[in-house]
């Protein structure tokens, strides 16, 4: 009897898992003992971290995309047919087209999405780089920018937790290069009482901002944006004026997760070590989709995906659990246009970022190309 693995989501997490399982279960797939199917929303696979470079013209749009069917192992049927309802009692997923897919093992990798519309006035007036359309608009706005007040505004929750700092320091370098930084004031706002969730990163960022004259406001959780008067106000009662507002919008999980009753906000309650949906033994959750209190980042999804691959493979071939996820996260941090650093940590090892260097910046640029090997399960 064929064991059916259904992967919902064709982003980084789902794709790495599909490709990794194909490599580990070659014989079982060939014999028909295992079948893997993926449901996605697009024929294109996007390298999301590359969006950071689009506003500055440092990457071309075409460099962010590959045909999903070429990234995915040919043994995995891929349907651009978004999941509409997930019924974990019946072990089936119904799609927008009305088809129903049954499974023995389900992988939920539905990701996250930006929700600027959840804050009054934000969608109408803010710029962001978390999707292609937003990054294009921001690029255009920066082309026209000749000085004034820029507010870089960070909201909760959001993915890629170092991106707000990266965009701030890259803005500084870009505007300096353009010759308008002396006519510009940058203010960075952050929801908690320091400049980053990671304390060592916050301790590094503060003197850097002081050095460049970048202002900051902490304990700033956005309540509303007034597009007419160009002001942004926090729940804590602060109001800032801006000429250009760059926001890291709040995120939400996929609609199908919440509408199927699998998790508030689209985040699935997940065992932080097993990566199984709470109370289940047949539903793995990976990447941004989990409610695990760690960074929503590509590296998180990648390290989690490796664990899911090992465990699904061991369950199907040896009827045993292989290993737990240790909470590993690794993030490059661009500290400007020419230097970078990195940080890694797991559930038991605190982060300890090193000094920025040009070498690490180059590593990040190299990884922007190597990503496609990761997605294919080769790196």
């Amino acid at each position: 009897m064929t064991k059916k693995i259904l992967i919902v989501g064709g982003g980084l997490a789902g794709t790495i898992i599909a490709n990794g399982l194909c490599r580990q279960l070659t014989k079982q797939i060939k014999s028909g003992d295992v079948a893997i199917t993926m449901l996605g929303t697009s024929d294109q696979h996007m390298y999301q971290p590359g969006l950071l470079y689009i506003p500055f013209g440092k990457m071309r749009e075409a460099e962010l995309f590959r045909d999903q069917r070429k990234v995915l192992d040919k043994r995995v049927p891929y349907f651009i047919d978004p999941a509409k309802n997930i019924d974990t009692d019946k072990k089936e997923v119904t799609t927008d087209s009305g088809k129903t897919y049954t499974y023995d093992y389900l992988v939920l990798a539905t990701g996250s999405r930006i929700m600027p519309q959840s804050i009054p006035g934000m969608a109408e007036s803010a710029h962001w780089f978390y999707d292609l359309e937003g990054a294009r608009k921001m690029r255009s706005a920066l082309d026209d920018f000749e000085g004034g007040k820029i507010v870089v505004n960070v909201n909760v929750p959001h993915k890629c937790p170092v991106a707000p700092l990266e965009i701030t320091f890259m803005l500084y370098d870009y505007l300096t290069e353009k010759g308008v930084m002396d006519k510009t004031e940058i203010t960075y706002t952050y929801p908690i009482g320091r400049l980053h969730g990671l304390e060592p990163v916050a301790l590094w960022a503060q003197p850097e901002m002081d050095k460049f004259g970048i202002k900051y406001e902490t304990f700033f959780n956005t309540k509303e944006v007034d597009p007419d008067n160009k002001t942004i106000t926090s729940e804590e009662g602060e109001t800032l004026s801006y000429d250009m507002l760059v926001t890291i919008p709040p995120h939400s999980g996929a609609e199908v997760i919440s509408s199927s009753g699998l998790g508030d906000g689209g985040w699935v309650p997940t065992d932080k070590k097993k990566l199984l949906m709470d109370g289940t033994t047949d539903i793995f959750v990976c990447g941004d989709t989990t409610n695990i209190p760690i960074s929503k980042a590509g590296s998180t999804a990648h390290f989690e995906a490796d664990v899911v691959i090992d465990n699904l493979t061991s369950i199907l071939t040896e009827n045993r659990w292989a290993r737990d996820y240790d909470g590993k996260v690794y993030c490059f941090i661009e500290t400007g246009m020419d230097e970078g650093t990195y940080v890694w940590f797991n559930y038991t090892t605190p982060p300890n970022p090193g000094p920025p260097s040009q070498m690490i910046h180059w590593f990040k640029l190299a990884y922007n190309r190597l990503y496609w090997l990761s997605a294919r399960g080769l790196l």
């Binding site: 908690i192 009482g193 729940e235």
Partner: protein, 76 residues
């Protein structure tokens, strides 16, 4: 009857317990509560400051076996 959502943020370095609380409060109704478990002593200092600034209500702070438990009621 108010509902209580518990976040086990023990060992969570990023985005950190307070960011998890802020995100969780967005998803619950007024009058409901969020309980966070944190191994970061900074949470005991930062969370009450933020709760006070925004106007939510800190219900409990307890030191447990190797971690702290803090409960916040959403008031607005």
């Amino acid at each position: 009857m108010s509902q209580r959502k518990t976040i086990d943020a023990r060992g969570a370095f990023c985005p950190g317990p307070l960011m998890e609380v802020i995100a969780a409060l967005k998803l619950i109704e007024i009058g409901d509560e969020v309980e966070v478990w944190s191994t970061d002593q900074g949470t005991v200092k930062d969370l009450p400051i933020w709760v006070d600034k925004v106007g939510h209500k800190l219900i409990e702070t307890n030191e447990c076996d190797g971690y702290w438990s803090l409960v916040v009621e959403k008031t607005k």
